[in-house]
């Protein structure tokens, strides 16, 4: 029951494909006129832009980490805070229009544990507070110091059967995607503000049903906000955040339509020193190599990702193919390994399946 209610809510978020988003408070494929719209000529103002932008309809703080136990077992964690505004007004107290949604997950080679939280903004149950604390209930992404609040982060979440407590330290600069952070999402010009911190070193503890596990690894934070969801004919996307053994990193995504499959791609190549190069539509190609049944749907399991400009031709494979987020709005999100021209690891998100 509640799941379906929350599904309606989740549909308000950008996560939702247009099929779901349409008709949500009339905010489906088009932004309400009163919401602010991303513009190509704005530049970020940090740390202010680490905080919420209530004038925009949707926003998220999206962190994924590839971790390793002392025995070499690979793990993945996800920590996400979504903000969705029903209207760009009424920001305080119970009567707020800001709705928050948290997703957290731990993926091991043989298990995928996840949970979600909903909250109303304006009453102190969820939000992003000074100096920097993005939180919902007792889940939190909190600054523990540094020049930029995001330099050092304490990350916690707790679900039905898991919890984690991780310390993150940024070893590189913030990365702006697209045109200095203005990231185009369709040929029609839908866009968002989008930056990342892909250089986190991580250490901490995962509490799993079988006991606590000390882990180390790397993490990637995505920050994105917009008022424009997908274009009307887009049905979902496939999103990669990859870290190669060379120290280089790559973000790549492909947006799909029902008719054509992947039809719009975008990528950012990040050198180990943080120098970033954006690639527009068509530069990167995504090809499904193998599909399989996951949660009663057919999902791509292995992908071929090619970026000829960087002589990149790789294959990704999931650490646990069942990394299905059976949340009120369901999607696949899990750690992957990378082989081919470049070896490495990363995270993959697939929505709209």
């Amino acid at each position: 029951m509640r799941d379906r209610i929350c599904c309606a809510l989740a549909a308000a978020l950008w996560l939702a494909g247009p099929a779901h988003a349409q008709g949500y408070a009339g905010l489906g494929a088009e932004a309400g006129a009163e919401f602010a719209i991303p513009r190509a000529d704005t530049s970020f103002d940090f740390p202010a832009d680490h905080f919420a932008h209530p004038g925009y309809r949707i926003e998220w703080w999206y962190l994924t980490a590839n971790l390793e136990g002392s025995d070499g077992t690979p793990y993945g964690i996800q920590w996400t805070l979504f903000r969705s505004a029903l209207a760009p007004s009424r920001t305080d107290g119970w009567e707020t229009d800001q709705v928050w949604l948290g997703h957290a997950a731990v993926t091991t080679p043989d298990a995928h544990l996840f949970d979600e939280r909903f909250a109303r903004g304006g009453i102190g149950q969820a939000g992003v507070a000074e100096p920097f604390d993005a939180f919902i209930d007792d889940w939190s992404m909190r600054s523990t110091g540094g020049d930029d609040p995001l330099d050092r982060i304490a990350l916690t979440a707790r679900g039905d059967s898991f919890s984690y407590d991780l310390a993150l330290t940024a070893e590189g600069p913030l990365i702006r995607h697209g045109d200095a952070g203005y990231s185009v999402k369709s040929l029609e010009g839908q866009a968002s503000y989008y930056y990342s911190q892909p250089f986190y070193e991580v250490e901490g503890t995962l509490s799993l049903p079988r006991g606590d596990i000390q882990v180390t690894g790397s993490a990637w934070l995505d920050r994105e906000w917009s008022s424009q969801p997908l274009s009307e004919n887009q049905s979902g996307w496939d999103w990669f955040s990859l870290t190669f053994d060379s120290g280089a990193k790559m973000m790549a995504f492909g947006l799909r339509t029902d008719a054509e499959g992947t039809h719009f791609t975008s990528a950012t190549w990040i050198e180990p020193d943080g120098e970033a190069t954006a690639y527009g539509d068509g530069a990167v190609t995504l090809t499904t190599l193998e599909t399989g049944e996951v949660a009663d749907r057919t999902l791509p399991l292995r992908w071929r990702v090619e970026l000829p400009a960087r002589d990149l031709d790789i294959t990704t494979a999931p650490i646990n193919r069942d990394a299905w987020m059976g949340t009120s709005f369901p999607y696949w999100e899990g750690p992957v390994t990378v082989s081919g021209s470049h070896a490495g690891r990363g995270y993959l998100e697939m929505t709209g399946y």
Binding site: A25, G26, L86, W94, E95, A119, G124, Q125, D160, S207
Partner: protein, 800 residues
């Protein structure tokens, strides 16, 4: 052969269409009343379950505090990781209707029913959370709220009526309340958290097992069920006489068929099949009728249950196939019982038995003696049950024994009465009339029993309801002695109210209340102005110590309501624990009709000493009655109190009486229906007899009495029997009323009422009985007047 037999058997019904109609009507009516009552009961039960399940109130723990939960307490628990969800609950008076408002936070609400209408529809959810708000209500509640200036409504079919689920912000606005009523606790909490109790000072309560409503209302439904059975039984009387007659009249056919080689077993099988087919046909029609009856009565029943028990029952009827099957099953079983004797007769009939109908159902003196003995046993059992048994079941058992016993006693008593009346008869015709009536009693006995049952049920229930209403009205006058009742939202307004009222009101009687658990049951403790003359002089208590009011004022005693007194078997002076370390003796007992819960009263000052933080927000104001409306208006204007916060005594009384009258609407309707069925039973029996009686009437006709006079005599005879039956029904009805008032009410509701008599109603019933019997015999009598002389002549000529 079988086909021929079927045609031959069925041809009887073609020739006796009226008889067929009676059989079918009897079966249909019996099914209708029974299944109607069942439909009502099951609908009510469904409503209780649904109400209990609304917002998981039947399963989820709650965190609460006496003065409500604050927003920060909620947020602190969430930030500590606990899954709790806020609820604001309160009543809002909208015109006359009371609406229970449940404000929830759909974002944190646990998985539950009640929010289904929000599912999967983003627009609705946005409206729900939006600034205008949205109320989820049952269809009938939506209709009741039509035209009010409440937020927009959305129909949620699975909600109980009288409840509106809305967003917490909307509830805060509608109830003008900031604090949360309680926090619902999710059953599954996240891993690794310390126990919830260690994280908060709020009190955690676990819902009790079972639905209280179902228990509370059991007696009411038992009542309805008893009525349903009564009606079913009355209906079966009709069926029995119709089937018995049909078998008697077809003796010739049976003999012929058997002589032609139809095996006995097949004949009986055919007759049984015929009966089963009739039962199915009539049962189906009866189910339709029953559904209609239930649909017509359900709103009244729903009103009753809401008024009497606060049970939210839907006024809408849904169709349940299981109910239909059960109804048909019962009809078949009933038909089998009613027709069993007739089939047995056929099975035992010698092949070449004389094909003459015996004087149908002429009972021997032995049968009468047996009936008398059985009646005596049953009536004795009724007395024993009433004296010895204290339970509701014993009370109803006693009622059943009383009714069946009286019914069995009817034929011997009637015959006795007619014998006694013999000296009163003048002339041979008069003597013949009495003798003939006596001789007819066994044949008519079943129909007359039905009439007796219906009449005594009417007298009994009428007496109970009348007694109740008279007592209730008197009680209301005392209980609502003050002219105005004011409820202030906060202490500031309360002070204002005192100030304004002080100028005009003779007395200002403040009161406050706390909810407690006394003797293991939820109870309300009310602080009253025990010094006030209004109470001291104007309130008759059921039992009290001589200095009861002084004791209350001094905190040396407590008043308890009759319900608590009877349930806990308390007595004056018995110590009662109100709270830990607080024991007071019972100083008095007061009547508290219409309240299912335990209630206690104590001096106001005593209560404030005990609960210093308890605000005094309610006032009863004594004022000259004609000055009351002006003061009410002033209070509303100067303090900004809403309409419903200042209530006139007259309004309260009107509402209470309306609730009361609705309570017994169903009972009244079922009463009338049962009487109607009894009327049909009498008609069937008379029609049956009219054909068979020709041999008895022919000699009188031959002696020179004209058919018209014969018809008048027939009518007179029926009326005499009806009057005698009524005369017996009155004492039986009064006994019934006594059991209802002194036993059933006490066991079911916890109060005992004085029994009052309403002779005017008995006379009215006599008229009804005479009309029913009169109408029933008009048709057979009229047929008698139209009888061609040759039919009567033939009686002599070819005496069968």
């Amino acid at each position: 052969m079988t086909r021929t037999a079927i045609i031959a058997l069925l041809s009887h019904w073609r020739r006796h269409r009226l008889q067929l109609a009676m059989l079918l009507i009897g079966l249909a009516l019996a099914t209708a009343l029974w299944s109607g009552v069942q439909a009502i009961n099951s609908e009510a039960r469904k409503s209780y379950d649904r109400a209990a399940a609304t917002l998981g109130q039947d399963t989820l723990d709650r965190l609460s505090a006496p003065d409500g939960v604050t927003l920060s307490e909620f947020v602190e628990l969430r930030r500590a990781g606990y899954l709790v969800s806020p609820v604001i609950e309160g009543n809002s008076r909208i015109d006359a209707a009371r609406l229970r408002i449940l404000g929830v936070d759909p974002l944190t609400a646990p998985p539950q029913a009640g929010l289904a209408a929000l599912a999967g529809d983003g627009d609705v959810l946005a409206d729900f959370l939006g600034s205008e708000g949205l109320l989820l209500v049952a269809p009938e509640t939506a209709a009741e709220l039509d035209g009010t200036d409440l937020p927009p409504r959305r129909i949620a079919a699975d909600l109980s009526p009288g409840i509106a689920i809305t967003d917490i912000t909307t509830a805060q606005r509608l109830l003008d309340r900031e604090r949360l009523s309680y926090l619902s606790v999710w059953q599954q909490q996240p891993a690794g958290l310390p126990p919830l109790e260690s994280a908060t000072d709020l009190a955690r309560t676990t819902p009790e097992d079972g639905t209280d409503l179902a228990e509370l209302t059991d007696s009411f439904h038992l009542n309805l069920t008893a009525f349903g059975f009564l009606a079913f039984g009355v209906g079966l009387f009709i069926v029995q006489s119709a089937i018995g007659l049909a078998v008697e009249q077809r003796r010739q056919t049976f003999r012929t068929l058997r002589a032609l080689g139809l095996p006995l077993r097949r004949l009986v099988a055919l007759l049984a099949t015929e009966l089963a087919a009739f039962a199915l046909l009539a049962g189906t029609v009866g189910l339709g009728l029953g559904y209609a009856i239930a649909a017509a009565l359900l709103p009244g029943v729903a009103g009753t249950l809401r008024g009497l028990y606060g049970a939210p029952v839907s006024g809408m009827l849904s169709f349940d196939p299981l109910w239909a099957l059960a109804g048909l099953g019962l009809t078949l079983a009933g038909t089998a019982v009613a027709g069993g004797q007739a089939l047995w007769t056929v099975a035992r009939m010698p092949l070449l038995a004389p094909a003459q109908p015996r004087a149908w159902a002429m009972a021997s003196a032995r049968t009468l003696r047996l009936q008398g003995a059985a009646a005596l046993v049953l009536l004795t059992l009724a007395v024993i049950l009433v004296v010895a048994g204290g339970s509701l079941l014993a009370a109803f058992g006693s009622l059943a024994a009383l009714l069946i016993g009286s019914a069995l006693a009817l034929p011997p008593l009637l015959i006795g009465a007619l014998r006694l009346a013999r000296p009163l008869a003048r002339g041979p015709v008069g003597e013949w009339l009495l003798a003939d009536a006596r001789q007819q009693v066994p044949a008519l006995s079943l129909a007359l029993m039905a009439l007796l049952l219906a009449l005594s049920a009417n007298v009994g229930v009428g007496t109970m309801v009348g007694s109740f209403r008279t007592t209730f009205t008197g009680w209301l006058d005392h209980r609502l002695a003050a002219e105005l009742y004011v409820t202030a939202p906060d202490e500031e307004t309360a002070a204002q109210v005192r100030e304004i009222a002080a100028t005009d009101a003779r007395e200002i009687l403040p009161s406050a209340s706390v909810d407690l658990t006394v003797a293991g049951q939820p109870a309300t403790l009310i602080g009253i102005a025990a010094d006030a003359a209004t109470f001291r002089e104007g309130w008759p208590l059921l039992q009290a110590e001589p200095d009861v009011w002084d004791r209350l004022a001094a905190g040396d005693g407590v008043l308890i309501n009759e319900q608590l007194y009877r349930r806990e078997d308390l007595e004056l002076g018995a110590p009662l624990t109100l709270a830990e370390g607080w024991r007071l003796p019972v100083a008095g007992i007061y009547a508290d009709y219409g309240n299912p819960q335990a209630q206690l009263m104590i001096g106001n000052a005593v209560l404030s000493d005990r609960y210093p933080d308890l605000p005094q927000l309610r006032f009863a104001l004594r004022i000259a009655p004609d000055a009351a409306p002006a003061l009410a208006e002033r209070l509303r204007q100067e303090t900004g109190l809403p309409q419903q916060a200042v209530v006139n005594q007259a309004e309260v009384k009107a509402i209470s009486l309306r609730v009361f009258d609705q309570t017994f609407l169903v009972t009244g309707a079922l009463n009338v229906l049962t009487l109607g069925v009894a009327g049909v039973a009498v008609l069937t029996a008379l029609l049956t007899l009219s054909g068979l009686r020709l041999p008895q009437l022919a000699p009188l006709w031959a002696l020179g009495i004209r058919p018209a006079r014969l018809a008048r005599l027939e009518v007179a005879r029926t009326l005499i029997l009806a009057v005698l039956t009524w005369a017996l029904a009155v004492p039986v009805g009064l006994a019934l009323a006594w059991v209802l008032l002194a036993r059933v009410n006490v066991a079911a509701f916890g109060w005992r009422l004085p029994m009052l008599y309403f002779p005017a109603e008995w006379l009215w019933l006599a008229a009804a009985a005479l009309t029913a019997a009169g109408l029933a015999c008009v048709w057979p009598a009229w047929r008698l007047t139209r009888l061609p002389p040759d039919r009567l002549l033939r009686i002599f000529a070819n005496e069968r």
